[in-house]
Symmetry: none
Subunit: 429 residues, 2 copies
């Protein structure tokens, strides 16, 4: 790659499944995000099936247009994985088995107590002159070839393999050649809708060159993606970003839960650790999602003690000591039940905080008074309990997601702004 002011970058996604209605190429977005961060933009993307002839033509077309060509997928051991072989054929390269690569593949299987199947031998075949990119999460190594002044980078298709490889093997090489300095920051927001966020910040939208904002919404979360590009230095890019970010922070305040890429469950975990506090959860309609998210964070055993997936009424009664008459008179989906659940799980676990969710995820079970999407979340601590009521739009999975988001955010706001537990009389929001 001749690193001119703007080398042309293309991405080719290989895989017949990507030409069906069922699969999106999401890898290219992740690659683009990272390329953008060092001032590289993508000028073209192709999606091609497993058929070798079409891929061959696509490689030739790309090499006529671009300087830097990323090819994702088709490095697997099976017969429909042809990327390596097709590239070798198109550019008349010899493939040879590299002993070091073969050793790594065998080792991966050995560690799992399995003999390497014969088919995986193919993955050790490398075009002469190619650099091998280590795959820490799979058997297919990546490859980097410079051919006639163009760089071809072959990467595996599975996200869990390609992303770490891109970070550790590709980005350092690209950084060494870069021109221009780009910085990105993501502000993550909970407790506001997309138009709620827009209303608060629309007069702050950047309109100077090199500074950009994109707003992304997902259930229960809005993200502001800020990008700053400077021809001079990383510091200059960073300081413009600081200025823009500061303006948004002044407007959105505590609704911003992260500026450093943290997920909400990580923020909550960090705040719990700082307080040396422990947590237990009681989940009805979310069925385990809240605990699942909390335990996605490495080291969460330091603060997460346990949870109860109290799906049936009898579980709410027997496991969490929700009084039968509360369930009968107020209903399983009620502020009272949510409160008892939070207090119940705090009491049995001895945790500092009890966090509960009860609601109607749908599609059935709704009524005029208690429609699908009605969710109560409650937070208990030694001083009292707080309940919040929400009516979430969306289908079953979306409602579950929003409910878990709401519960986590409730705990976050509490940990952030009330060093002392709330007074029981504070009641509803």
């Amino acid at each position: 790659m001749t690193m001119t002011a703007s080398p042309r970058v293309e991405i080719i996604a290989v895989g017949s499944e990507l030409l069906t209605p069922n699969y999106q190429d999401t890898n290219s977005l992740e690659l683009t995000r990272r390329l953008n961060s060092i001032g590289l933009t993508v000028s073209f993307k192709s999606i091609v099936g497993d058929e070798s002839k079409t891929l061959a033509r696509c490689l030739l077309d790309a090499s006529a247009r671009a300087d830097l060509i990323f090819i994702m997928g088709g490095l697997g051991p099976t017969r429909d994985d042809n990327t390596r072989e097709t590239l070798a054929e198109v550019f008349h390269l010899d493939l040879e088995v590299r002993e070091d690569v073969l050793k790594d593949i065998r080792l991966r299987f050995q560690r799992r107590g399995v003999r390497m199947p014969e088919v995986n031998l193919r993955q050790a075949r490398v075009p002469k002159g190619a650099d091998v990119l280590t795959n820490r999460h799979g058997t297919a190594p990546g490859l980097w070839l410079n051919l006639e002044g163009r760089d071809f980078i072959l990467l595996p298709g599975p996200p869990r393999e390609i992303i770490p490889m891109f970070e550790s093997e590709v980005m350092p090489r690209l950084r060494r050649r870069r021109r221009g300095f780009q910085r990105r920051r993501v502000l993550k927001i909970a407790g506001l809708t997309e138009s709620g966020v827009e209303d608060k910040i629309k007069d702050l939208y950047p309109n100077e060159p090199g500074l950009s904002l994109t707003i992304l919404a997902s259930p229960g979360q809005i993200e502001l993606h800020l990008t700053s590009l400077s021809p001079d230095s990383a510091e200059a890019a960073e300081s413009r970003l600081d200025r823009l970010s500061g303006q948004f922070e002044a407007r959105l305040g505590e609704h911003i839960f992260s500026c450093l890429g943290e997920e909400l469950e990580e923020t909550v975990g960090r705040l719990l650790r700082r307080r040396e506090a422990t947590l237990a959860v009681a989940e009805s309609c979310t069925g385990g999602l809240l605990g699942h998210r909390i335990t996605d964070v490495p080291g969460s055993s330091a603060y997460f003690l346990e949870g109860v997936q109290a799906y049936s009424n009898s579980a709410k009664i027997s496991r969490l000591n929700v009084p039968t008459e509360i369930i009968e008179t107020r209903g399983a989906v009620s502020p009272e039940t949510a409160e008892y659940m939070a207090r119940g799980v705090m009491d049995i676990s001895g945790a500092d905080f009890g966090l509960s969710i009860t609601g109607i995820a749908g599609p059935d079970g709704g009524s005029p008074e208690k429609p699908v999407g009605l969710v109560y979340t409650a937070l208990a601590c030694w001083k009292g309990t707080r309940v919040e009521e929400n009516r979430f739009p969306g289908g079953r999975k979306i409602v579950k997601r929003r409910a878990s988001q709401q519960a986590l955010d409730m705990l976050r706001r509490h940990l952030l702004h009330r060093p002392d537990p709330p007074d029981a009389s504070a009641g509803k929001k």
Copy 2:
């Protein structure tokens, strides 16, 4: 378009925003779904920015490969919308203002009580000889051109415009010419690796025209995507699919858990309902993921009673009655603890089945004897308990996912093949 047995179809998505990290081309999935339903498959997709030069080259490349080319986006009134003009330039076509189109555009503005802005005049310019496709939801008409035996179909970018136009203007024309009927089927597999599946079926790979197979792997799950195309009838396509699918089923047997698009948690739910059986879960390292997946299925309250997220040792002891000495002598991650957890949750809940998971999700907590990825799953019923040991590769989230998959599959296999609960003496797998 010469409608041969398999005309080559390509989709080109136009728009610089589709080359950023923030936007996906979702229109092409909707088009593909509809094209597949009449026997047309997509052989290539390109994503190109607003730059006219790149689009021109992309149109030429596509016309060299394909018979039927859909171009989405770039028909708007603003300066960065160039699709119409670029196509006209590439194929030396004259653009002329069509009075009927102009009238329609004016009318749209009139109905909103607004005068048509001057810029919208561009949208009434149509290449000579093109058919106009009515846009009921916006000002940009679609265009259909036959050039040198190839069909170019220009469609607007916004989903609310392109989808209705595709349905009402494009599909009827395609149906009139169609040859061929396509059917698809997805076989989902648990309990085998990708190369394990490959080893069992590689001699069955279809190599007759119109029949195709794609293998997709995700943690704990392999999918075989089968496609069958018949020039004669949907029944013929279906029966070829049945034959191929039958061969795979004979080889892979009970490892196939679904042929109808069902997720594993749905299959398990269906089997539990059929047996009128109930389930409770006890989760350590998965933290709630198992219950979360089970309760993603609408109506799961019919069989899922409750769960315990027994993350801490004390929760295992107090909630599930795992003996303290078992934890102390065998460890929290041991076959014995898994067994006690499954039995414990079955006993307290009164469910017919207790399903448990305990393991080391990482990244910390591993040791030489008990490495990260070691997971025990146990299934208890009134007759006894069965335990399975696995060593899963991958990071924390992958291990959690695989563990939940393994537990669900353990229950599925039991429900499928053992109408009677297993004897306790059956022991380990």
